[in-house]
């Protein structure tokens, strides 16, 4: 059967019925895959992490702030720090004034405001006189930015970590997912949507039980 349009648009050539619309025409191709964290960013030298007092005045270091942020957990995944999640992009310290730049995970993530509040509370406790938490959309957060430590913690928590996809979101959806309890790959996706925006629901045939995955994004 043929779908008749009114008003009928010119029949365009198409590359397959389920092809995803691509950026052709008068716009350039979309941006290349998002860049990962700069090397070394987010890693913490614990020895240098304690704030020091000098002539009666608190000296906050960038390392101290990063270490403190390592203790601020994702409100929805309480074993994963915001640093391991990869949402903290930049820390600048000027005397006792701290500015943190972070990026949201999913656009509709309701935890963003709570994350900002937790960062502020933690850094004020560290001794900062004032804390500003800015959010930026670019470069867009990717689940590839979850650290190796974060992936281990996710698995221990019972959440299958997201496969690393290098920016190719089409391919990542077919990657093998392993049960976080028994490592079996004999699993079925039950729902690509879950209890939070960042989770999908799987079933492990070996355990005969459901588990959740942190969704690749």
């Amino acid at each position: 059967m043929v779908v008749k349009l009114s008003p009928s648009p010119p029949a365009p050539p198409h590359s397959g019925a389920q092809a995803v619309p691509q950026g052709e025409g008068n716009f350039p191709e979309p941006n290349a895959p998002t860049s990962p964290l700069p090397a070394g960013e987010g890693r913490v030298d614990m020895a240098a992490a304690n704030p020091t007092w000098s002539e009666g005045r608190l000296t906050l270091t960038s390392d101290a702030v990063w270490a403190a942020l390592h203790e601020v957990m994702d409100p929805e995944i309480p074993v994963l720090s915001l640093v391991d999640l990869g949402v903290v992009r930049e820390v600048t310290v000027s005397g006792d004034v701290v500015t943190v730049t972070m990026t949201p995970t999913f656009s509709g993530c309701p935890a963003l405001v709570e994350m900002q509040r937790l960062i502020e509370v933690r850094l004020l406790a560290l001794g900062a006189a004032s804390v500003a938490v800015n959010t930026v959309l670019a470069p867009a957060w990717s689940s590839d930015w979850i650290s190796d430590e974060g992936r281990r913690k996710l698995k221990a928590f019972g959440l299958a970590p997201p496969p690393v996809h290098g920016g190719d979101v089409q391919i990542m959806l077919f990657d093998v997912v392993r049960c976080p309890r028994c490592n079996s790959d004999d699993v079925l996706v039950r729902n690509t949507f879950g209890s939070t925006l960042c989770r999908a629901i799987y079933y492990c045939n070996r355990c005969q039980d459901a588990f959740e995955q942190f969704k690749p994004l």
């Binding site: 043929v2 009114s6 656009s107 670019a138």
Partner: protein, 250 residues
């Protein structure tokens, strides 16, 4: 940016935000009522994503015009919205909801792919953030299109009935607004005729493969300032709490 360009961009962003807001509201109406638990969860997620997108687009409107997103959402009257009638329609049955979602997801995929290359950087950044989220929606509604279209005689009949209502309305997603030409010249927003062709090139073969076919050729609404009575009902529900006490702090 001169005043004409600013006004044109703000108008486009507002229409885009309004579409996402209304669709999110209609989908959220299924929460607790979807046919199976998995779908209840999925649709709540999709609604939350679309609301997140709306929030980002309203934020860009605010940067251009200074209008407060909360005021835009809760304190405009129906005639001031620029949403398409397609997303204002009541949720109908499951076939109607899924087919509407599919047609809108295909539109949004095509739109975001182009906006990710917008010369207005905040739009490009926003689109880059939303694209991978939208891919999940598109895969989900595409699966339902085939499942219901090729399912039983009854599911096919319901999908065809939904298509008969939605097809004439879908054209409004691509209807022109004053200033569009200006935006296109600047590379801020894609040409809507080209967008419509790209969309048709994806959805028409997909509808055919799902066993859906010839549909009424009635002309649909064009001007986004014109709304159905359904918008009044939707707004009465959506704005009731906020308007009960304008000064309330949340």
């Amino acid at each position: 940016m001169n005043d004409d360009l600013r006004a044109a961009l703000a108008a486009r962003l507002l229409a885009t935000a309004d579409d996402e807001l209304m669709l999110a509201h209609r989908n959220a109406e299924w929460t607790g009522h979807a046919p199976i638990l998995e779908e209840d969860i999925a649709l709540a997620n999709i609604a939350q994503d679309e609301l997140g997108h709306a929030s980002i687009w309203y934020g860009l409107v605010e940067e251009l015009t200074g209008q407060d997103p909360d005021r835009l959402v809760f304190f405009r009257d129906a005639g001031e919205y620029r949403s398409a009638q397609m997303v204002e329609q009541p949720r109908g049955d499951w076939a109607f909801t899924m087919l509407r979602q599919y047609l809108f997801d295909a539109y949004e995929m095509a739109l975001l792919a182009r906006l990710a290359g917008s010369a207005y950087q905040p739009v490009a950044d926003a689109a880059a953030r939303m694209r991978n989220e939208e891919l999940y929606h598109y895969r989900h509604s595409s699966a339902w299109l085939r499942r219901l279209g090729l399912g039983t005689a009854e599911s096919n009949r319901r999908m065809q009935a939904a298509l008969d209502v939605l097809w004439p309305l879908a054209g409004q997603l691509f209807s022109p607004q004053p200033g569009d030409a200006l935006l296109n010249v600047e590379g801020y927003w894609p040409d809507l005729n080209e967008l419509r062709q790209a969309w048709s090139g994806v959805v028409i073969p997909a509808l055919e493969e799902a066993g859906l076919g010839e549909t009424a050729s009635a002309a649909g609404p064009d001007d986004r300032r014109v709304h159905s009575a359904h918008l009044d009902t939707l707004l009465a529900d959506m704005q009731m709490v906020a308007r009960a006490d304008e000064e309330a702090v949340w």
